[in-house]
Assembly symmetry: none
């Protein structure tokens, strides 16, 4: 079963936004055994949309489009689909009511343009967008395929996909299984790695496809199986990766998938233990990573973004002499921040960061990217110095990741 | 002049990575007056690559591919291009030497696989990759177009584009000019905005194309002109946006590039005033937005993520009776949080949020999405209740945007 993903919008073609929808759609479709034949991004013109959809329908059973469903004149996906499927737009009372109630809750007036959003092609199955004003649409094609149109707002698309599209696709088609598993290696260049594991690669079962995905200091090795039996593929892949761990034991990071903050979230929730966070250079990013996960309130007591030195002392109780003597970016301050936030909130664990995110503020001894991070536990406080790169956003994101990893490594020991 | 961007790699088709290369390529090409006809992502098979490239060459003068140039067996773009252009691979001494020196500097041995990377189609112009081991390739097609193959590693692609590809394209083709300018509005829903400015929209010169790009609490309005004269288009767009500022004076953030948090950042930096933040449901996102900007330390004193009620009372000094009487999500608690963080840090301004991010914790009177936000200034404290949607990430991002806007509106008055 093949699908083509079509993202519609000039903002994608001119590079004003990075398309994240198509990656998410691909994962969802692969998850139910549908292979992506290709992805196409096209502009907001009728001719381009029709041409692209005709091509997509001729090569795929399932075509999913995103974008172009807004209330304004530049949004033409719906009208184009109605024309393609020879259907007229009719007012859908239920959708109109839904949009009216949604806007009412936000304190926004229901206008003629919103009314227009409930004008839908007569021939389609309407997919209720619980989180937005643009419904999704499901069209059955003459050849037995489907064309599904979803809004471009990522989280609206996401909910529609999970709640409306995937269940219908599973019901409608006889689907197979696709399995992807990725092992992350570090500290070995791609070409050297490929030579080192070439015998292993040659001995892989024919139906497993290997891909190398290099990134700075890591190479991800993905094994994929299409049209397969899930248990068989998973067991063969597990055996292959176990063999690989014997060949390059020092270069394995682990499997791709669950993030380290998710693992921490799970461990703390399960153990009913609590966490507080004191951030300087990471500026709230660590707290935001945890609070993005539903259920974080079960263990996260507080975060303190102690950006100014006075905040480090006044709120967290850091001894001003440490700052005077060692500077704000120092082991003593990182430790005092972690211990301080743990003490004032009564948490079991605490994470702290203090560093130089740049672009200014660096010195010869403490260049931009220097970050001290600490973890306080009921038993002890540990502190680590890491260089986190040269670019501000890179430094913030690496420092956040390293600091969470520091806590994770401690939790694993207990 | 039209281009098609082709990204090659199963990792894109299965959604393992988000393709950022094509957005960057689009901006580069638009910048020299080349329109993107479409973008296609295809898999790592010879048939898929040949089919896609043939289609792209038939619709565009310029075809740029990224990906599939690595040293391992799953990388087949180069061999496929050599076959398509009927050319054999020959060893390129200069490229081989370059790769050898590059790896030597990284302390990596030069292997047969790396030697293979210097085997290049005889008919192409080799584009030196100063930052990586996979050279770019430029092929002239029989019909007078070009096919350019670049590596998929983003910063290698980026450097090759700037240093090798753009200068050659400008020399080779007679190019026109494309102008895009984007104005950001806030505090007005897309459908309401569209009605308010419909006369303005209708009066735009025919050659200017308007697009609406909605995001939480902001709508970006983009005007684009293709095949145009730069000065003329820029002056017409400036006049149109100036007119718009007269129509919706209270809803203009500024030109793209400037977000509301950037405007707050600029105002506070210029006025040498300070800010602190107390967050509950937004969980550090507001602090993270400010600290992502270089120079935030000039005005941001502290953020407190008071997730647990005890943290609201112990750190921020919120009266526990307020929580008892009104609940943690209430006007009294939002006000007390803002005033508390302002007082304990000595900041000029403070922002506070308290709400229900869900998915659980809602009730009939306070459903998921209910957020109280407050701003404390030297003169007063204001508090506003907003419904921020139904999805956790949406609620966090909207509540953050609304709360920053609340401060921005106060700062504008002063």
């Amino acid at each position: 079963m093949k699908a083509t993903v079509v993202t519609i919008g000039d903002e994608i073609l001119i590079g004003q936004i990075v398309d994240t929808n198509s990656a998410s759609l691909s994962r969802h479709l692969n998850g139910i055994g549908i292979t992506i034949h290709e992805k196409i991004s096209t502009g907001d013109t009728k001719e381009a949309i029709i041409d692209t959809l005709n091509r997509a329908m001729s090569s795929s059973d399932v075509v999913i489009t995103t974008g172009g469903l807004g209330p304004t004149k530049d949004d033409i996906t719906k009208h184009t689909l109605a024309e393609m499927f020879g259907s007229k737009l009719v007012y859908n009372e239920a959708e109109g009511e839904h949009v009216r109630r949604l806007l009412e809750r936000r304190g926004v007036a229901f206008t003629d343009l919103n009314r227009g959003q409930a004008m839908l092609p007569e021939c389609c199955t309407v997919l209720r967008n619980a989180h937005g004003t643009a419904p999704g649409m499901w069209f059955d094609t003459a050849k037995g395929g489907v064309v599904i149109s979803l809004p471009g707002v990522p989280f609206e698309m996401e909910h529609l996909m999970e709640d409306e599209v995937l269940p219908r696709l599973k019901e409608r088609f006889e689907l197979s299984t696709i399995v992807h598993r990725t092992l992350i290696t570090h500290g070995i260049a791609e070409s050297i790695l490929a030579e080192r594991i070439s015998a292993w690669e040659d001995a892989l079962p024919d139906y497993l496809h290997l891909a190398y995905l290099p990134a700075p200091n890591i190479v991800r090795l993905r094994l994929s199986a299409y049209d397969t039996i899930k248990e068989q593929a998973e067991s063969d892949i597990a055996a292959a990766f176990a063999e690989l761990e014997r060949i390059i034991p020092d270069n394995i990071v682990g499997m791709e998938g669950s993030t380290i903050e998710q693992r921490v979230h799970e461990i703390l929730t399960e153990r009913k233990e609590t966490l507080s966070i004191a951030e300087s250079c990471t500026g709230g990013s660590i707290a935001a990573k945890f609070t993005a996960m539903a259920g974080a309130s079960a263990y996260l007591l507080a975060g303190v973004v102690s950006y100014a030195n006075s905040a480090k002392c006044d709120i967290l109780g850091v001894n001003p002499e440490f700052i005077e003597r060692d500077g704000a970016v120092s082991e003593s301050v990182a430790r005092a921040m972690a211990e301080g936030v743990r003490r004032i909130t009564g948490a079991d664990y605490a994470i702290a960061t203090t560093g130089i995110a740049g672009p200014s503020g660096g010195s010869e001894h403490k260049p931009v990217g220097t970050v001290w991070m600490a973890v306080a536990t009921p038993e002890k406080t540990i502190a680590v110095l890491r260089n986190c790169g040269t670019d501000r956003s890179q430094i913030i994101s690496r420092a956040s990741a390293y600091a969470i990893e520091l806590l994770y490594n401690e939790l694993k020991k207990l």
